[in-house]
C-alpha cells in the first residue's frame, strides 16, 4: 500500500514511500524524522557540489568539461523522455499515449500554455478515457 500511494503522490516517490512506510511502522513524528534523515545527506551533497561547480566554472579546463557534461545532459533528458513514454507504448494504448504526448508538446511549444494547465488538461482527458489506455 505504501508503494502504491507513493506512486500517486506528487514529488519524489522515494521520499513518499519512506514517509508512508515509517508512518505505518511508527507515527507522524517517526515519518517526518525518516523523511528528514532520508533526504538531508543527498541534498547537502548536491548543494556543495553546485557551489563547487559555480566556483570552478571560471577555470578553462573545468569549463571545457562542463561543456561536455551539458552535451551529455541533453542525451540524458531525451533518454529520460523515452523511459517515461516507453511503458505506455503498448499494442492497445500507443496511439492514445502518443496523442497525449504530442498534444502536450504542441500546446506547450506553439500555444505557450503553461505546464500546469497542460497537466490539468491531460488529467481531464485521462478522466474520460476508456479503461485500456494503460493495459
Amino acid at each position: 500500500m505504501s508503494y502504491a500511494l507513493s506512486r500517486i503522490t506528487p514529488g519524489t516517490n522515494l521520499y513518499a514511500f519512506c514517509t508512508a512506510a515509517a508512518w505505518l511502522m511508527t507515527n507522524t513524528r517517526g515519518a517526518v524524522t525518516v523523511l528528514l534523515i532520508a533526504s538531508l545527506p543527498c541534498c547537502i551533497l548536491i548543494a556543495l557540489l553546485t557551489a563547487g561547480f559555480d566556483y570552478w566554472s571560471t577555470n578553462i579546463w573545468v569549463k571545457h568539461a562542463i561543456d561536455g557534461a551539458l552535451a551529455a545532459s541533453v542525451g540524458l533528458l531525451l533518454a529520460a523522455f523515452w523511459s517515461i513514454v516507453r511503458p505506455f507504448l503498448t499494442a492497445h494504448s500507443w496511439i492514445r499515449s502518443s496523442a497525449i504526448v504530442a498534444m502536450s508538446l504542441v500546446l506547450s511549444m506553439y500555444f505557450n500554455i503553461t505546464p500546469i494547465a497542460v497537466f490539468a488538461l491531460a488529467g481531464l482527458v485521462g478522466w474520460f478515457l476508456p479503461e485500456d489506455i494503460t493495459q
Partner: protein, 172 residues
C-alpha cells in the same frame, strides 16, 4: 527573491511532477522564462549536478534553488522537495482504498504522459544552449545511444563526455 516565494515556486514544480525530471518544464517556465532567476545553462548544469550525486533523480531542484538563491535557496528547495512526501500520510490514513482506482490511475498516467511531452518542449531550449559545436552534437547523440542501449550509469556517461571535451580542447 524572498525565501517564502522561492519555496512556493519550487513547491509548485515538485507538486506538478510525478517522476524524476518531470518538474523541468515548470521550473524552466518559472525560473528561466518568467522570473529570470537562472539561465538555461544553469538549469542544464543543475541537471548534470543532480545526476552526478546519489539519490532520487529529482534532486537537481536543490541545485536550481542554490543557483536562484544561494544557500537559503538550496534550503528552500530541500523543503519544497520533502513537502509533497508529507501528503502521503493523510493518503495512507484516509485514501488508501481509492489509490488503486482505475480512473485515478488513468488520470495520473495521462498527466505523466503530458509531463513527458512538456519536458521535451523544455529540453529544446536547453539543447540549443548546450549544443554549441559538432563535438557537442556528437556527444549528445552518443550519450543518448549509450543510455538507451546499454546499462551504463548516467554518471559515467557524463564523466566520459566531460573527458572527451577536455581531450578535444587539449588536441586543438
Amino acid at each position: 527573491m524572498n525565501f517564502l516565494l522561492l519555496y512556493l515556486l519550487l513547491l509548485k514544480s515538485t507538486l506538478s511532477a510525478f517522476s524524476g525530471l518531470a518538474a523541468l518544464p515548470v521550473l524552466r517556465e518559472d525560473f528561466v522564462v518568467k522570473h529570470k532567476l537562472i539561465t538555461d545553462r544553469q538549469l542544464n548544469t543543475a541537471i548534470v549536478v543532480g545526476r552526478t550525486t546519489p539519490g532520487p533523480k529529482g534532486l537537481y531542484i536543490v541545485s536550481v534553488g542554490y543557483y536562484a538563491g544561494g544557500t537559503p535557496g538550496a534550503i528552500a528547495a530541500w523543503l519544497a522537495l520533502i513537502t509533497p512526501a508529507l501528503l502521503v500520510i493523510p493518503a495512507v490514513r484516509y485514501a488508501s482504498r481509492r489509490a488503486t482506482s482505475p480512473r485515478l490511475k488513468r488520470v495520473l498516467d495521462a498527466v505523466v504522459l503530458a509531463s513527458a511531452g512538456v519536458s521535451l518542449s523544455a529540453t529544446l531550449p536547453l539543447a540549443s544552449d548546450a549544443l554549441i559545436n559538432p563535438l557537442t552534437y556528437a556527444l549528445a547523440a552518443g550519450s543518448l545511444a549509450v543510455l538507451l542501449f546499454t546499462k551504463l550509469d548516467s554518471l559515467v556517461v557524463i564523466a566520459l563526455s566531460a573527458l572527451a571535451t577536455v581531450i578535444a580542447a587539449l588536441i586543438r
